[in-house]
């Protein structure tokens, strides 16, 4: 037995040890995949949960909008001319004629104001609701976009679409 063979023999591991090492490596791989799968599942579950919430909120928004419209109409019914006439009659008021009116000048009083029904401009609300790309792009899409951008700047030409 030459020197080289002696060295190999000296460091050779027992076959059962090698087997255990291979199994260990395989298990590490399996565990790694399981961790990735677990993460993926966790994120997917959270995304699904949020998706469900968005669906529920959308429904709630529609319902609320309908309720608002309905309540506005009911309020208008309660303050309609017909109803107000009934109330004023019950309270003993009557319509004044032009000779019974006392006119006063109230300094600074601008008089009855015309209707102003506009609320916050919706355009601004819409822009606030836009989600930034971090929340809508996958990593690959982001990478593709970066590459396209870089290629565009470098004058290489289009490398492919991003999203």
């Amino acid at each position: 037995m030459n020197r080289g063979q002696q060295l190999i023999q000296a460091y050779r591991q027992a076959p059962w040890r090698q087997q255990v090492q291979w199994i260990g490596l395989f298990l590490i791989g399996v565990i790694f995949l399981a961790v990735i799968a677990g993460l993926y599942l966790s994120i997917t579950a959270r995304a699904a949960e949020h998706g469900r919430r968005i669906q529920a909120i959308r429904l709630a928004k529609e319902t609320t909008e309908k309720e608002i419209q309905d309540l506005e109409s009911r309020l208008a019914e309660l303050t309609s001319i017909e109803r107000m006439d009934e109330i004023t009659d019950e309270m003993g008021f009557h319509v004044v004629n032009e000779n019974q009116v006392l006119y006063l000048i109230v300094p600074g009083y601008p008089g009855r104001q015309l209707a102003w029904e506009a609320t916050q401009p919706e355009g601004e609300l819409e822009s606030q609701a836009d989600l930034p790309p971090e929340f809508t792009q996958s990593l690959l899409e982001w990478l593709g976009e970066r590459i396209s951008q870089w290629a565009g700047e470098a004058g290489i030409g289009e490398l492919g679409g991003s999203r």
Partner: protein, 591 residues
């Protein structure tokens, strides 16, 4: 390998095998379970839905809601849940009939037909939901829902009891008119049949009120839910109408029609400075929430959609033309013989009397047809009809209401025109116009010669932003000086006449009109259109009021009918518009 190590390998291997088997078992369980069919739709979770924006609201000038939306309910049957053998259908029909009022037989028949058709249809192509009733009021729908919940709880464990699971109650919006018949001829209505606006503002602005339906792509897979764009609601309208003035005008015209036995009545009120219509009260009106209960005669706005021969109110226009052409002044005299030959046709005064030498103011005061016909001749047809067109007679005003009648004017370009037409047109015969056309024409007289376009929308609310409608001039048919002259003449003629139209404390300019109605035998005084147009306060006009009574029975003359209605209206109007009597107003302005 020793025994201990082997045992360990065996244990780990068995554990992995067990977990693996469990996973496989779970996968199989999921695939064969009843819920698995729900997963099929995730193969293509995207579906398109048409979203109809909420219809825009309509307000009066102060923000009072005149047309909005309310929640109503659709009652439907989910056909897959109906078990005919269990006796579901008769029970369902009975419950819906009791709470909603739908006919039992109708429900049973329609459901049976739909179920039979579904059995023959290919998979996925049958009817899923059968609508049995719609526009169910909230209280009825709520009571029905409560009963169904209670019944379901009671019969949950009884397999043989008929079930009400198939009944679906879903809310949606429907048009609502809180003021019922107020301004009904201005607003129009939204049809339950086609969801579109009919008549009035609802029809004219149907497109903007309804908004733009949008097709959106939605996912049933919660993992694929994306942000949905906000669907902007339909444009809301702020009208120029003042609810209080409108209600008062309607009450006054209703009373007048009743007292004077008129067929119909109309009062139009406009701000002569801006063309803003403050009210158009007409009879008959309808409760817009139940429009289907009325016949078509109730729907149009008579102030816009019906042109008629206005009679002597037209004389103010003829006199204005002559003044503007410097043919006459207030004191210019005319010798009235009671009759005048124009193109072979004899023009008589309304009472067939001659008044001798009269001034132009007298011509208006006594409403002399001969005098005005002579002015028409002096003007010449070309000039007279040029002015008529400049005043907008015979042309639509383009007011923002559906169904405008442009009226009729036979001018010299018409093949059948004759000189007698000129004679009759000068005092409002042979020419028809609407209340709104007259308001527009007279605005030139009340507004220093500048005519304004009548309109009903003051502002629009689009996507939360309010856009005010700019005032549009309709031209300057006459000079400022002429407007002043005719106003003064009408003030004097009204006061000299001690007209019923006068309102104590307020200086008003105005003119009556009694239009004979054309019949097959010619014009007759048995039936007339009584009118009055007036504006005030004359130094700073804030309103033009036009009254039209169709075929009044108590008296045929406008001076005895429409003039009274005018004064009643103005007495209330000045209070509602915070207009003090002239003397007090001028004193306050001086301070």
């Amino acid at each position: 390998v020793n025994k201990e190590v082997r045992w360990r390998f065996t244990f780990v291997g068995a554990s992995f095998a067990f977990v693996g088997l469990m996973i496989i078992f779970q996968m199989i369980r999921l695939q064969v379970s009843e819920s698995a069919r729900d997963l099929e739709k995730f193969d293509d979770p995207w579906y398109e839905e048409v979203i109809y924006p909420v219809r825009g609201q309509i307000f009066d000038r102060w923000g009072t809601l005149l047309a909005g939306s309310k929640v109503v309910y659709e009652v439907g049957l989910e056909l897959n849940y109906i078990d005919l053998e269990r006796g579901d259908l008769p029970k369902i029909a009975e419950v819906i009939h009791d709470y909603v009022g739908t006919k039992k037989k109708e429900i049973v028949t329609n459901a049976r037909v739909a179920i039979a058709e579904n059995e023959e249809a290919e998979e996925g192509e049958g009817l899923v939901l059968l609508v049995v009733d719609d526009y169910v009021p909230a209280d009825a729908a709520q009571r029905l829902e409560e009963y169904i919940t209670q019944y379901n709880d009671q019969t949950w464990n009884d397999a043989n009891a008929p079930k009400l699971w198939a009944i679906q109650i879903s809310p949606h919006l429907a048009r609502s008119y809180p003021e019922k018949d107020l301004a009904s001829n201005i607003l129009g209505f939204v049809s339950l049949m086609d969801g579109r606006g009919h008549f009035g503002v609802e029809e004219y602005y149907d497109g903007v009120l309804a908004g733009e339906p949008q097709v959106v792509k939605l996912s049933s897979n919660p993992n694929m839910v994306e942000e949905m764009r906000a669907i902007p609601p339909g444009t809301s309208l702020i009208l120029t109408i003042d609810r209080e003035i409108q209600a008062t005008a309607e009450a006054i015209i209703d009373e007048a029609v009743d007292q004077m036995g008129a067929d119909t009545g109309t009062i139009g009120i406009m701000d002569p400075r801006t063309g803003e219509i403050l009210a158009i009260a007409t009879t008959p009106r309808l409760d817009l929430n139940e429009y289907w209960e009325y016949n078509e005669g109730y729907f149009p706005n008579r102030g816009v959609g019906y042109a008629y021969e206005t009679g002597s109110v037209f004389k103010v226009l003829t006199m204005t033309m002559a003044l503007n052409e410097d043919l006459v002044e207030a004191n210019t005299t005319y010798t009235d013989y009671g009759v005048l030959d124009v193109g072979g046709a004899l023009i008589w005064n309304w009472d067939r009397n001659a008044r001798g030498v009269v001034t132009m103011t007298d011509c208006l005061q006594y409403s002399l047809n001969t005098c005005l016909a002579q002015l028409g001749l002096d003007l010449t047809p070309v000039v007279f009809y040029r002015y008529m067109h400049e005043f907008g007679i015979g042309d639509p005003t383009y007011i923002d209401l559906a169904g405008e009648d442009p009226g009729s004017l036979r001018d010299t370009n018409h093949p059948l025109w004759s000189w007698s037409d000129l004679g009759r047109n000068t005092f409002g015969q042979g020419v028809s116009s609407t209340v709104v056309q007259m308001l527009k024409a007279v605005s030139a007289l009340a507004n220093n010669g500048q005519m304004v376009s009548p309109h009903l929308v003051k502002a629009m609310v689009v996507n939360g932003k309010q856009h005010d409608i700019q005032i549009q001039s309709a031209g300057n048919p006459i000079a400022k000086k002429t407007a002043r002259q005719i106003t003064d003449m009408l003030v004097v003629s009204l006061e000299k006449e001690s007209s019923d139209a006068l309102v104590p404390g307020y200086t008003i300019a105005g003119k009556t009109g009694t239009g004979e109605i054309a019949t097959e035998e010619g014009y007759t005084l048995e039936e007339t259109n009584a009118s009055f147009v007036g504006w005030g306060p004359v130094d700073d006009p804030r309103f033009i009021v036009y009254v039209w009574l169709e075929k009044p029975k108590t008296d045929i003359w406008g001076s005895k009918t429409a003039a009274k209605v005018f004064s009643r209206m103005v007495e209330r109007l000045v209070v509602l518009m915070n207009l003090p009597p002239d003397e007090l107003r001028l004193t306050l302005q001086g301070n």
